[in-house]
């Protein structure tokens, strides 16, 4: 049945070449763990992407209950965590996934570094990867405030003090991130907007660039 539906669409829109172009590429022997088990180190980039997809999905579902407001934020998180079925699981996925994505990204970076894959002609992809790294840190930072508990509040205070210590720009930078003179209602909405709209948008654009460059340049050769 699926085949018939697929064929019907394919006859009209000719979609086969599109996914062939995306998916139908042979994995080079030196990155295939079936040939050399040590090649599993080449999986970390894909794993980072896999966890990122889970982060996006679980995050989308969490916003069905979460409210970015100082009165209701904590109450809504507590509600979705303790009262809603599978709330613990979905928030758990987002919580643990946030740490895991950093771990995977770090391992991926190590692999690229030690295989020298950042060298010409792939320097630009290294730079884009670094930008992704910082966007991910930004996502972790802004997401940390959202439950609006003590840990979130003081972690953000500390972060903003660090921003404050930047020479010359510091105080302005801090107030800009804070959305005012205290960590409060405006900080929370600001961090929420960054966490849910701005940073994910930037992340997706960077990821597309990252992947297109891999396609153009191919996976770096064996050591």
């Amino acid at each position: 049945m699926f085949k018939n539906v697929y064929n019907w669409i394919d006859e009209r829109l000719d979609i086969t070449p599109i996914w062939r172009d995306v998916a139908d590429h042979e994995v080079p022997e030196h990155v295939n763990p079936a040939h050399h088990f040590s090649a599993f180190v080449y999986c970390f980039g894909g794993l980072t992407f896999f966890i990122t997809v889970i982060q996006i999905l679980s995050g989308m579902f969490l916003t069905m209950y979460y409210v970015p407001d100082i009165i209701n934020a904590y109450a809504s998180v507590e509600y979705l965590q303790t009262k809603v079925a599978f709330g613990q699981i979905v928030r758990g996925m987002h919580h643990w996934g946030a740490s895991l994505v950093i771990v995977m990204m770090f391992l991926h970076t190590m692999r690229v570094f030690f295989t020298g894959s950042y060298k010409a002609p792939r320097e630009m992809n290294w730079v884009v990867g670094m930008l992704i790294f910082f966007v991910m840190l930004g996502l972790g930072l802004t997401g940390y405030l959202l439950p609006w508990d003590n840990k979130a509040y003081f972690a953000t205070k500390v972060t903003l003090e660090i921003a404050n210590s930047v020479p010359v720009m510091g105080p302005v930078l801090k107030e800009l991130m804070q959305g005012g003179t205290i960590v409060g209602a405006e900080t929370l909405t600001r961090f929420f907007a960054l966490h849910v709209f701005f940073l994910p948008a930037v992340l997706l654009i960077l990821l597309v660039g990252h992947f297109i460059m891999i396609r153009r340049q191919g996976i770096s050769g064996p050591l």
Binding site: L57, F61, A75
Partner: protein, 184 residues
């Protein structure tokens, strides 16, 4: 041609073949199955999480003391009462309204003022052109004092479950109108 056919039937070419799964098909099924299993493991908790409000048990309506039975007359009167409600993480008290009246047999019933057309609030005798009727200001729906729909609305006004205990009228959950049928 016919002789060729006969020959074909009596001496089938090659050994009989069994319908076997090809290697490609096996791999497609196992990889597809494993992928679907893992995908479902990630997605199903989220789906259950999202549909939770629909699957929540609705609490059985409790009765709330609303009005003194002695004060109920033949003419509908408006009574307001408060209902504690829990909306997710937000607890509040909703103010509800009921139009209560005594019918010819002295039975007390209470109508909900939520218009059955599109949910605005009706009032008793609030349109000069139609005296002694419930009237909805939004689209001009009208009802008799039993709640029978006269215009616009597709159904009669709902009513509250009513309980008389001592001198007091208690109202419970909202149910479809039964007064109109009783009269007919």
């Amino acid at each position: 041609m016919s002789s060729h056919n006969e020959e074909h039937e009596s001496f089938p070419q090659g050994p009989p073949t069994r319908k076997e799964m090809s290697r490609r098909q096996f791999l497609t099924y196992t990889l597809g199955g494993a992928t679907a299993f893992m995908g479902a493991g990630a997605i199903l908790p989220m789906i259950r999480f999202a549909v939770d409000p629909v699957l929540h048990k609705k609490g059985a309506g409790e009765f709330i003391k609303v009005a003194e039975a002695a004060k109920i007359t033949d003419v509908p009167q408006e009574f307001t009462f408060e209902l504690a409600q829990q909306d997710g993480w937000y607890a509040s008290t909703a103010t509800l309204t009921a139009w209560i009246r005594k019918d010819e047999n002295g039975d007390i019933y209470a109508l909900s003022p939520v218009c059955k057309h599109l949910g605005c609030t009706v009032g008793w005798n609030n349109d000069k052109a139609y005296p002694d009727e419930y009237h909805c200001p939004c689209h001009g729906a009208r009802y008799t004092k039993l709640g029978k729909n006269l215009a616009v609305a597709p159904k009669p006004l709902d009513q509250y479950k009513t309980k008389i205990d001592g001198d007091w009228v208690y109202l419970g959950e909202i149910v479809p109108n039964t007064e109109v049928k009783k009269e007919a």
